[in-house]
């Protein structure tokens, strides 16, 4: 059993003064994130085929498939759908990234997502492709 004394922290304290402080200087400096960091979602509109799997698996109901045109499949005419993302609600879990068979979705390292209006976080760039 260690001997009881007061001020056992003194030695460590003075050693810590000499070390560099561990504070990260964010926002005046850069914050380093790891490679797998899950930040803001991004879509590559070229690779997206509108299969709607991302809409089905999203836990936070972020994705809405929007009809952007029509095509003929076999003997019927079906909608071509593309996803619209409400990134305000997104929890960056990455389930859509895992489940997209075409590799259209990625999670970037962007985490500075504070905005003044919720609507500015709607990502609709996939809606323009796919006529």
């Amino acid at each position: 059993m260690a001997r009881k004394k007061v001020g056992g922290a003194f030695g460590e304290m003075f050693r810590t003064v000499l070390d560099h402080p561990v504070t990260v200087e964010y926002p005046f400096g850069k914050k380093v994130v790891t490679e797998r960091f899950r930040g803001k979602l991004d879509i590559d509109p070229v690779k997206c085929t509108g299969c709607s799997i991302c809409e089905i698996v999203c836990p936070a109901d972020v994705i809405t498939m929007v009809p952007v045109g029509k095509k003929v499949v076999g003997s019927r005419e079906v909608d071509i759908k593309r996803p619209s993302f409400d990134l305000y609600t997104c929890i960056s879990c990455g389930q859509c990234v895992d489940d997209c068979k075409f590799g259209a979705l990625t999670l970037t390292h962007d985490f500075e997502l504070a905005v003044f209006k919720k609507e500015s976080l709607k990502m609709t760039k996939a809606l323009r492709v796919g006529k």
Binding site: K5, G7, G8, A9, E12, T16, V22, E35, R36
Partner: protein, 410 residues
Amino acid sequence: MSDPVQSNEQTEAGAGLMQYSAENMMPFGPVHPSLKEPEYFKLYLQGEKIVQVVPRIGYVHRGIERAAQERTWVKNIYLFERICGICSFHHSLSYTEGVEALAPFEIPKRAKYLRELVAEFERIHSHLLWLGLLGHWAGFDTLFMWIWKDREHILDLEEAISGNRVNKSYTTLGGVRNDLPENLAEKSRTEVNYLEKRAEYYKSLVQSEETLSVRTKGRGRINQETARKLCPVGPLLRCTGIARDIRAEDPYAAYGEVPPQVQTENDGDIASLLTLRLNEVTDSCRLVKETLEKMPSGPFRVNFPRSVPAGESTFHVEAPRGELFYFVKSAGGSVPERVKVRTSTMANILTATEMLKGHTLADVPVVLTGMDPCFGCMDRISVVDVDKSKEWTVSGEQLRRYGIEYYRRK
């Protein structure tokens, strides 16, 4: 099966509390600087001495079990890991293992080892968090800052593996989501060796520092007999000398092959909890190194069907705070029929209130923190049956009997 919900006055009158007048009652919570989450404790004081504590829970009740009934099996992983930030991985682990028990095939070995690795990371992080907070609540801010500085090492490792520091979302049905990144094995060993040395230093500091030990030695003492009556779980149970650890008794993930060393202490007070949790940190560091060594190669994930076969399963894991228990019932569909969570703080709260008797108000934060409370995990006692529109509270006795029956049938 049910008693009607008793009013609070009736319950308190039954416990013989009406003799204590309202002037002697000191409310602790729901909002108080020393509580991370809101919880209401009615402290009945005589002078500064506490004679009775009546907890009232339910302030963080979010209806998660009800929400789980509307989401698919995979979506529920994200729901359950957000029950608690500190033991988040253990919640998702217990849920996924519970669901996988309903399906007829095994998950790959590598996935089990990876799950154990991240589970041990989380245990280290949780214990360091608790230690720092105990320092803060005892007035020792320096210890708090130092320990949380060291905790950053573990959080960086967790971020490297899964992409997030807190809600890791690392398990999924059928295995884990990613494999280890390239240099993580090396980095983990370095960090874990560093943390072992720091844990040794902190152990010597908390045992020898006089101002800290007068706050923790002999405070919140429970003996084995009280422990057996009140059934605490986790480190709170192990510090009385009873060696129960689910990782050793009922191994899950890879604990069968990489077992932990169950740590116990004999004094049953807060000082022994400090030593116990630091010993557990050291042991977890050893487990991390061993898991990395013995990790088999192979796939880390298998496909899991969208609809889970019908059945009921229970699963318990040793979360950093104690036994975390999940009951999963499937009717064969793509959403669960019922998921029930019984967390460790639920089992510990009565023991904690028992620990407080006879202490002064100054001891309340330290003793209450001794059980490592996580009220966010805890509030899930009411059961609402949507079909029959009935509401009842489940008593501990009913749960206990049901549990014995279930395991006997298993």
